[in-house]
Every structure is written in structure tokens, then in C-alpha cells.
Symmetry: C2
Subunit: 182 residues, 2 copies
């Protein structure tokens, strides 16, 4: 099923996920909030919140068919009972990145940075869902939501650290790291 | 400049472009209207209309850097004084297309269908701007807007015919062809 899912992350007082910390990795941060509510695929107006970040799932943008097959075998869905830790990592990339050709972005992302391959190493421990925001006129380009168990939080930290050290991250000009539990 | 431009095509009674015909190529058509108004990058609500199709310009999704350079040299912008003919071609592709890997879609689109190469042959006569709609929850996936002079309308017909005969078009499950003059 490839139909895009529209998702709004609402920072405020309500929601299943309690915010543990909002870490500014690069660029401006967002106001501190107690909870995040995930408002999905609704034609209703979202409830009031202190801030709201919107995105949609989409088709694969860089992943090849062979890579998608490997990911498909290894990954598990969101909402696993023991996955009580989550991270929401909003990222914006700079104009240089967005003006590159498709081949150049793929080259940097995978052939040089191994982004897809690194993510694959942490499956099925870390479940993830990528939301695209750039074409919605949002302040970030991507919102990635991760879920994992407390036992896998060391693995998650390692994965995030490795990704941030890749050549791809040179193009990231704003990044937050929001950690949550439920 | 790669910042997405949000565009709404409003079918109704007003606007610079007069609708000559709305041709149903595949799937459901839209109500006949007299004019189309192009409402761009505005935070205001669009004026009333009979129908509205929304999209955003975006980064390149399939085009390589080398291809983008060739296109960049050859193409001209919208709004040329003698380009008094236009076409708005809304297209939706099927679920099979969207579930393919990035490599498979590129293979079909360019290596097999020569989509980018065919378009290049008709530059600078035909100016175009592609808008992405799928992630906005719209009824079509793409809205392509073309502008050309009356002298180049034969070339435009030929280009459209050639593209519709490619393997890529097997994946198109809804298409309209709206022709306009101003």
C-alpha cells in the first residue's frame, strides 16, 4: 500500500508520548512541550497545540528495488508493545542539496554515506517511518519517527551518531532530536 | 532557486487563460469551465471556483545532473510574449508504479521511455513546469503546465503523442488534457 499518509506531530499537553528532551543539534530549536500527539490522516482540524509539524509518507525516493526487498524482510512496524522509546528527528537540508541532480543525491546518500545500509544494520530493533515536509511549505524537510525498546536505546544512539558523521550530514542545516517515552 | 512554489489551478469563470477544450484521455474527466486562473504561492484562500487542482514544484526526482545541465541550457521560462497557447495535463499513475523502487522507475521513465530526452527535443519551443500533487492528497499525482506559440502547436501535439506511446504511460491510470489560449 503506497498511498501517502498525512501526519501531524502536535507538541503540547496531550498525547500518548511524553517528551523526555528536545535537543538542538543544528539551527533553531522549538519550544519545550510535555507531550506529543500524533494526528494522522484526518480531515478534521488538529486540536490546539504549542507547535505542529506536518509531513506525509511517500514513495521511495532513493531506495532501489533490491534495497527495498532487504528492508522489507528485516523491518517491523510501528506500535510494537515493547517499543516504549521513540525519537522524532526533524531535519532540513540546504539549498545546495536540493539543487543537486537525482544521481548526485543518491551518490552522496548511499554510495558515499551508506545511509540505507546503516539503517538496515539496526533492523528490526529500530522501527522507523519517514515523513516528507518540504513540499508542504514546512520549516523542516523531513520528519523521521523512530520506535525502539529501552534495551535497544544504546543501538539507537550508535546509529544516530554514525549517520551524523556521514558526508550526507554536511548538507543538513537544521536538526532537532526529540526523545520520548510512553 | 529550489524552494517549492505552491500552485493552484482554479477552473471557473475568471483568469487570463481561456479553456479551448478539456479532453478526457483516461479515467474520469472534470466539469467544463470557461477559464483557468493560476493562483501561486499565496497564503490567502483562493477565490471561488468550480474546481481546483493543487501542486508544488519540487526538486528533481529522476533527472541526473548532466541531464539537468542540458535542460537548463535549452529551456526558456513561462510567460513568453508569443507563447499564447498552453496545456494543463493532470496525470495519475497506478499503485504498481508507486510501489516500484527508485531505480525501476528511473529505468522505465528514461532508459526505456526516453521521457527526459523526448522533452529535450522540443526545447525551447515548449516551456514547461511540473507540479507534484500526490503527497498533497490530490486526485492527480502530477500537474504539468506547458506554454508554446501557435506556430509550435504541431510540435507540441507530436511530443504529447510520442510520450503517450511510451512504456511509462502503461502506468498512467488517469489523464486529462486541457488546452488553453490567452
Amino acid at each position: 500500500m503506497t498511498k501517502p499518509i498525512s501526519v501531524t506531530f502536535l507538541g503540547g499537553d496531550s498525547g500518548d508520548w511524553r517528551v523526555e528532551k528536545i535537543q538542538r543539534v543544528k539551527g533553531d530549536t522549538l519550544p519545550t512541550v510535555d507531550r506529543i500527539e500524533i494526528f494522522q490522516n484526518s480531515f478534521l482540524s488538529p486540536p490546539p497545540s504549542i507547535w505542529a509539524l506536518r509531513g506525509t509518507t511517500s514513495n521511495l525516493r532513493y531506495t532501489t528495488s533490491a534495497e527495498a526487498t532487504r528492508l522489507g524482510y528485516a523491518q517491523q512496524g510501528l506500535g510494537r508493545r515493547d517499543a516504549t522509546c521513540a525519537a522524532l528527528i526533524p531535519i532540513r537540508k540546504n539549498e545546495t542539496w536540493w539543487s543537486l541532480g537525482q544521481d548526485e543525491r543518491r551518490q552522496i546518500m548511499e554510495e558515499s554515506s551508506r545511509h540505507i545500509s546503516i539503517g538496515l544494520e539496526y533492523l528490526p530493533a529500530v522501527a522507523r517511518r519517514l515523513h516528507h515536509s518540504r513540499d508542504l511549505g514546512e520549516p523542516f524537510d523531513f520528519l523521521t519517527w523512530f520506535e525502539y525498546s529501552p534495551e535497544n536505546s544504546g543501538a539507537f544512539e550508535e546509529m544516530v551518531k554514525r549517520l551524523r558523521e556521514t558526508p550526507e550530514w554536511i548538507y543538513v542545516d537544521r536538526e532537532l532530536d526529540i526523545r520520548l517515552t510512553r
